[in-house]
């Protein structure tokens, strides 16, 4: 028995032991990984200790998504361990996913021994070169004396400022060699010290604008989630105190409770009518922890044309990147909200209450459109109805519920019809749009929350992109529920082909699908197939009640599209609400056609 994970006084250890000790000192309990030649010393050290649990995935991409799910549902850093070469390259999609969505992940990659680097050795890849634009930062450790400090620094970098993925590339000779262990330094980082506390002047400028607003809107994103549950609580306090409408981005769902009367729903391409029109018509916009993504703004030169914009973000490079703003506030969302509330309370200027009451009346008028209404008639299950019933039934049960998704129509329906009352309950691939994200992410969530209900709302095409992870569910008895909205199409591709390419469904039909019931059974899980609307509720209850993993294959209407929709290159006030209105899409400009 090695003495790997005892107290961390300065002493000599092998590189592999140093890595594990540093992980432990940074509070790591679980890592997601897949072994291989270059990381054998680390796996050997893992074998000889019990402090860190290793979850064996079936593909390295899934290890990163699982770590993302773990990180997003706990607020901790997710840790991945993969081998050199293909292990590292397979992880790249997950790394970019974490980069785009600002998720703190550390990925340890094996590397050929230092003397072979550059020789095209077996399973060698230029991992730091490949992952440089795929990570927030990366390291190649060539000196064992720097190993411990590099791991400590990686944790600091990954979770500080705007969080993100960090790769540490570990040559095998470094893992085998012996060197000193050192604890995390107390001194501040030499160069990377992001601003988290906002400048008082910027907060005062923001509050002056907000107090004077007649038609305000709060637009909150993933930055509020990343800041922690306290930021979400402060967001609620501020929005209620100021009697402002609040909308969330896809990444921000759960930052403000969906059932709160001041919630407008999600905004953007498939956002609600009321959220988008409020963004379009507001006179003061407070963006907190969101980045004016193209899915949110629609056509930039028509985006919220008459508003003063306040942008609070922890990343200065997000400010004035897409949209020029009037007040820039650099800081952590929680710190910004705290400062805003304090300054708001201190500021004498009264709000224009009659104007705000009139603004709410306008919003209520837009809400009256019922943009998310659908008609569930007959026996064919509408996908919207399937998600809505899933939400209502889990809500009635009162169990702690976490939702992950894959990417496509089902993802948008999940965002529209599943309500989130708390942060960290919703894991979806926002920026990169990674099909195959949901199942491994759900694994990571379930590892972190063994007793919670974890559901991957999936599409039949996306789920096949990481279906091998059913094996991981079986191995660790993870009772993840995979809820497939099966319309036999890559639905979002088909929707765009229908709306923009003359209904020429090029390669978007899900041909030769597996029998998902037997597929589930082959992976030691429960399989269910539901085809009739009348069976839906019972099936959902049965799925939830089953103690192990389940694939519920829900046959839904094949031709349903996601609405509302802002077509590419259109403005917020040019949304399409319903299928009947598609005439509007014929007017998509050439500029719009090139957008994705």
């Amino acid at each position: 028995m090695s003495a790997t994970l005892q107290t961390a006084e300065t002493r000599t250890m092998t590189g592999a032991e140093i890595v594990l000790q540093a992980l432990k000192d940074n509070g790591v309990e679980v890592i997601f990984g897949y072994p291989g030649g270059a990381v054998l010393p680390l796996y050997d050290a893992l074998f000889q200790q019990n402090a860190i649990r290793h979850i064996l995935v079936r593909h390295e991409q899934a290890a990163v998504h699982a770590a993302e799910g773990y990180a997003r549902s706990t607020g901790k850093v997710g840790v991945v361990l993969v081998t050199s070469g293909p292990g590292a390259t397979n992880a790249v999609t997950g790394l970019v996913d974490a980069l785009m969505d600002s998720i703190p992940v550390i990925c340890l990659t094996g590397q050929v021994p230092t003397h072979l680097i550059g020789n095209d050795a077996f399973q060698e890849a230029d991992t730091t070169g490949i992952t440089r634009p795929a990570t927030k930062h990366n390291y190649l450790v060539k000196d064992i004396r720097k190993l411990a400090s590099t791991v400590h620094e990686a944790f600091y970098v990954s979770k500080s400022g705007r969080p993100g993925p960090v790769v540490i590339d570990l040559p095998k000779d470094i893992l085998i060699g012996k060197g000193p262990y050192s604890e995390a330094p107390q001194a501040p980082h030499r160069s990377y010290r992001p601003q988290t506390e906002p400048d008082a002047a910027s907060i005062r400028a923001a509050v002056r604008l907000l107090k004077g607003a007649k038609r305000p809107v709060v637009y909150a994103g993933g930055g509020v989630i990343n800041s922690g549950p306290e930021a979400a609580r402060l967001l609620g306090d501020f929005v209620r105190m100021a009697n402002m409408p609040c909308t969330n981005t896809l990444m921000g769902l759960g930052a403000f409770p969906s059932e709160d009367p001041q919630f407008l729903g999600m905004l953007g391409m498939h956002g609600t009518y009321e959220a988008n029109l409020a963004m379009h018509g507001c006179d003061v916009m407070l963006n907190i922890g969101a980045r004016f993504d193209d899915r949110v703004t629609g056509r930039l030169n028509a985006f919220s044309p008459n508003s003063k914009k306040i942008h609070a973000d922890i990343d200065p490079s997000s400010i004035n990147k897409n949209v020029k703003v009037d007040v820039a506030v650099v800081g952590d969302a929680g710190a910004v909200l705290k400062a805003l509330i304090e300054c708001w309370q201190a500021e004498e200027q009264p709000q224009d209450k009659p104007a705000i009451a009139a603004w709410w009346r306008a919003i209520d008028g837009w809400r009256g459109k019922g943009c998310l209404q659908y008609r569930q008639e007959g026996s064919i299950i509408k996908p919207q109805h399937a998600v809505k019933r899933l939400y209502e039934i889990t809500r009635e049960m009162g169990r702690e519920t976490f939702i992950t998704t894959e990417v496509g129509q089902h993802q948008m329906w999940a965002a529209q019809y599943f309500g989130f009352q708390k942060p960290n309950r919703w894991m979806t691939s926002g920026g990169l749009g990674t099909m195959g994200y949901g199942l491994p992410a759900a694994m990571g969530v379930q590892i972190a929350h063994p007793d919670a209900l974890v559901i991957d709302i999936a599409g039949e095409a996306s789920i096949l992109m990481n279906i091998q992870e059913m094996g991981t569910l079986a191995q660790y008895r993870l009772p993840v529920k995979v809820f497939i909205l099966n319309n036999e199409y890559m639905g979002m591709v088909r929707q765009w082909q229908e709306l923009l390419h003359g209904s020429r469904y090029s390669e978007s039909y899900s041909e030769a699908l597996p029998d998902f019931v037997r597929l589930a059974e082959a992976f030691h899980a429960r399989g269910m197939r539901v085809t009739e609307a009348g069976q839906l509720d019972d099936a959902i209850r049965e799925m939830i009640a089953h103690p192990g993993p389940v694939i519920a294959d829900i046959a839904v209407a094949k031709d349903e599209n996601c609405f509302p929709m802002i077509p590419s290159g259109a403005a917020h006030n040019e949304m399409i609400l319903a299928p009947g209105q598609e005439g509007g899409v014929a007017g998509v400009t050439d500029e719009g056609m090139v957008l994705v």
Binding site: R132, P133, K136, L140, S191, P316, S317, I319, K324
Partner: protein, 172 residues
């Protein structure tokens, strides 16, 4: 009507103080290529051995919004200590060094020597049929000298790219 600032391009000379470590140049260059920014010139060298610091000078161009983006993107790289927009922050000196090889005989050779003298270029190597001139100055001055040399035997140029520093007591 679009804001004038959104369409007017400007040049910027940006000084970046970075950790002197492997891969830092690749990070900076990758940032520029990945995000589609221009690099007109880029120079790098260690400036502080004790503190392991290097200084990168980048000459770039873009709208104000793009240049502000470039600075913010550079600043968020982990090994970057400081980013300074010398063009915006006040008067600064910008210098470039060039080594220029002229091959020729007779009158052309004499003319090259006369012009070099006028431009205060130094002869750092000579054979009976060639000179290598060393010249330091602004990019414009180097351009002008090189243009004059072109018809009289210019065969090779090596330029360092721009290094720059703020005038006065202000430090980075």
């Amino acid at each position: 009507m679009p804001d004038l600032a959104e369409i007017t391009q400007r040049n910027a000379t940006i000084a970046v103080l970075v950790e002197n470590e492997a891969g830092i140049l690749a990070r900076v260059v990758g940032l520029f290529s990945g995000r589609g920014y221009n690099i007109e010139s880029l120079t790098v060298a260690p400036v502080d051995a004790d503190r392991r610091l290097s200084r990168i000078t980048i000459v770039t161009s873009g709208t104000d919004m793009v240049i502000e983006q470039i600075k913010a993107q550079l600043d968020r790289l982990v090994p970057v200590h400081k980013v300074s927009d010398l063009t915006l922050e006040g008067p600064h000196l910008a210098r470039e060094l060039a080594l220029i090889k002229i091959v020729g005989k007779g009158e052309a050779r004499m003319e090259a020597l006369r012009l070099a003298d006028a431009f205060r270029a130094r002869v750092v190597d000579a054979t009976i049929e060639s000179f290598v001139f060393e010249m330091t100055g602004s990019g414009d001055k180097l351009d002008a000298f090189i243009a004059l040399m072109r018809p009289i035997g210019l065969t090779e140029i090596s330029r360092t790219g721009v290094v720059a520093i703020a005038r006065g007591s202000r430090g980075l």
